[in-house]
Symmetry: C2
Subunit: 427 residues, 2 copies
């Protein structure tokens, strides 16, 4: 029996999916007995469909796909949370199984999507929503399920990892690294989703939900980006034996789930410290398996299409066996989210301050007044003609105390002349 596919969205990833079906369709029949048939493709214009030789399957209206009684699987590659959400929910309502790469949708409306799938008795898969082609959702839902997962930490945004790598290796400024990333097609004209951490926040919400069997939405994730980082921070970190990465972190603790995205110092001996450029990696610790890491290309047409079509083929096997879905939503617990104020860790903080006597004494006193014990204070040279960079590294301190000290220092008259750079340390 042929498995008939309706594809909504024919951009780079959709094009990759068409390529896979055209290139490997015979292999899928021979090796797995799966006969995939691309039945209909939908996008705004027919030129992309024509370019892939499937102009005859084109429709501009996704309803033609979700209402086609012969279509078994709908692939949603529109992106965003408006039309894409309608496509996914309408397809499930119409009794289709759905594969999506949509991290924003799953991280903001995951519960609603799963409820719709449950109500319809249909399957929803989203392996491509995190880590591009890296198998991570599959392993978390299958190979690793005998574990209680303790931690998930990921480099899940290739744009910022590329920028931090270029800043660390070639001393590029944040602005130059961003311009280079944009020139290479790694960053959007409006880079906020990447550089401010929102893309990573959506991904760790999804990973944390699966790993800890509890619903984590994007709003639950404390999120900070990399825009205050300067090459001097990366150099200082290296001197201390650390690499700086934009990490997406989810820890299970006795008092709830700690989920956040922010620039992070990790020891250079950690596996994640060697993940450079546009590559992604997700590090998972389970109580029986110990440490594991999953590495690969986090973006790009081929990688994302590999994940989408992996889901499609796996779903096709189950449809042929008459049992899709076998695995539905696994968010069966309701663990509290720990607010970051309650956490304690070590901090790296760089201030750019006026170069005049007494400023160090003022700042050091504020830290002491707020119970933040300082491990080291280093002047890292002139930031410009009249200002210097001063780096504090704290002992383990409470986030709320550090934030109070930071606010007091930043609000003092004639002291701090730029937004400080705060990097949390993960040992």
């Amino acid at each position: 029996m042929a498995i008939r596919i309706g594809l909504v969205g024919t951009g780079t990833v959709g094009g990759g999916c068409i390529d896979i079906i055209q290139k490997h369709g015979d292999s899928f029949r021979r090796h797995y007995g799966i006969d995939l048939e691309l039945a209909r493709v939908c996008s705004l214009h027919d030129d992309e469909a024509k370019a892939h030789g499937v102009g005859h399957l084109f429709t501009p209206d996704y309803h033609d796909i979700v209402n086609d009684p012969d279509i078994d699987i709908v692939i949603e590659l529109v992106g965003g949370t408006t039309v894409a959400k309608s496509v996914v929910l309408d397809a499930l309502d119409a009794g289709k199984n759905v594969v999506t790469a949509n991290k924003a949708l799953m991280a903001t409306s995951g519960q609603e999507v799963f409820d719709a799938a449950d109500a319809a008795g249909k399957d929803i898969r989203f392996g491509a929503s995190v880590g591009g082609g890296i198998p991570i959702i599959g392993p978390l839902k299958h190979s690793l399920i005998a574990n209680e997962i303790e931690s998930v930490m990921g480099i899940v945004n290739g744009t910022t990892n590329y920028m931090l790598t270029r800043m660390a290796e070639d001393n590029l400024s944040y602005e130059d690294a961003l311009a280079e990333a944009q020139a290479n097609g790694y960053a959007e004209a409006n880079p906020s989703a990447d550089v401010d951490g929102f893309d990573a926040a959506a991904k760790i919400a999804i990973l944390g939900s699966i790993a800890f069997n509890t619903r984590i939405a994007m709003d639950d994730v404390y999120t900070r980006g990399i825009s205050t980082i300067k090459p001097t921070d990366l150099e200082a970190a290296r001197e201390m034996g650390y690499a700086v990465k934009l990490l997406a972190i989810a820890h299970r603790t006795d008092s709830g789930v700690d989920v956040r995205v922010h620039p992070t110092m990790i020891p250079v001996t950690h596996q994640l410290a060697h993940v450079d450029g546009v590559f992604n990696a997700i590090y998972v610790v389970g109580d029986f398996v110990g440490e594991t890491m999953f590495f690969g290309e986090g973006a790009g047409a081929g990688a994302a299409a590999s994940a989408v079509m992996g889901d499609v083929l796996d779903m096709a096997r189950q449809l042929q066996a008459g049992v899709a879905p076998i695995v539905g939503c696994t968010c069966t617990d309701s663990l509290p989210i720990r607010v970051i104020d309650t956490l304690s860790m070590k901090y790296y903080i760089r201030f750019t301050v006026a170069d005049r006597p007494g400023v160090l004494a003022v700042m050091s006193k504020v830290f002491a007044d707020n119970n933040v014990s300082i491990h080291s204070m280093t002047q890292r040279g002139k930031a410009d003609r009249s200002n210097v960079d001063v780096v504090y590294v704290t002992h383990t301190a409470k986030e709320s105390d550090v934030q109070a000290a930071l606010q007091t220092i930043c609000e003092a008259d004639d002291l701090v002349v730029a937004e400080p750079s705060l990097i949390r340390v993960e040992e």
Copy 2:
């Protein structure tokens, strides 16, 4: 409905499986609706069963498990290819689904085991047979199946990786590194299976079979171990920008499958170069996904038990849905195995030779006579009082030419005084 499990083998991994069922049984019911019941355990003596509090489930005869009509899944953790094979085949014959961690059995009798499973209409899983707890067979059979896999390269033996790491980092001799590995419980009293590469050969036979959809048996794998490696080789490699690892390699080529295990120089910039100590990692390249890598603990009770129980839980889900097996044997092609003689690559070769005039001229002439072009020749100091180490690095050369040159040099009178160290270069 409870899924009833019969466990054959209560050593470290079997003990880990019992621990997982006891510790996480409630979670499995709550999150996944899977009710696992350990129904019977078999081993030679009852003390291990008693130590895990399951003495009342003990039987010394595995037939009591495979013939019990109420048992759904048999876990085989006996190891080896004699009794273990009987357990697996008898269990399948009796209509049980089987989970095994047995790499030797799957790499030597995989076809026979799959045929028995097919005949019985039952499921056979072996996720723990490669890479301990690292999810790799699951991803190859599911998330990555939309790809044509081009290469699988793995550090799949923790013992030798530990030894090579210690030799590289602390200049330990092969003998001292082995003694240390044995003292730490990483190597057996008879270390041959590890240090001679046979353990890795079984694992790459399994991975290559799945990745390339063709049957590769352990005998098909060209296998060399690490016993000729000295610290000077690791130091020389580092100076050239390489790390030395015992790699298990499977490449798909136009003229067949190239499968081998041998000491290998890889660039220090490669992800595998940073996998040290007892850790394992498997690097997979697919035509759409690009580069991926899977990292983790390759051995140990917890890691292996995680993989075994991941298989058990996944199988349990399918049994509850009434559809096990969904994925059977996928070795549908019969690709030829390329013999190593036909390959071409670069080689690092260290000879320990008598320290007297003319030896370099003799050796260099033999290489030239055999069409092996030399990139560099370096004398690396005295091997002992009367001998010196000489290192040749070739340009790309044919394996058969290199072997012919090597044989001629080794058979020359009064020249080579120890077995040469040959390390192939993988760029």
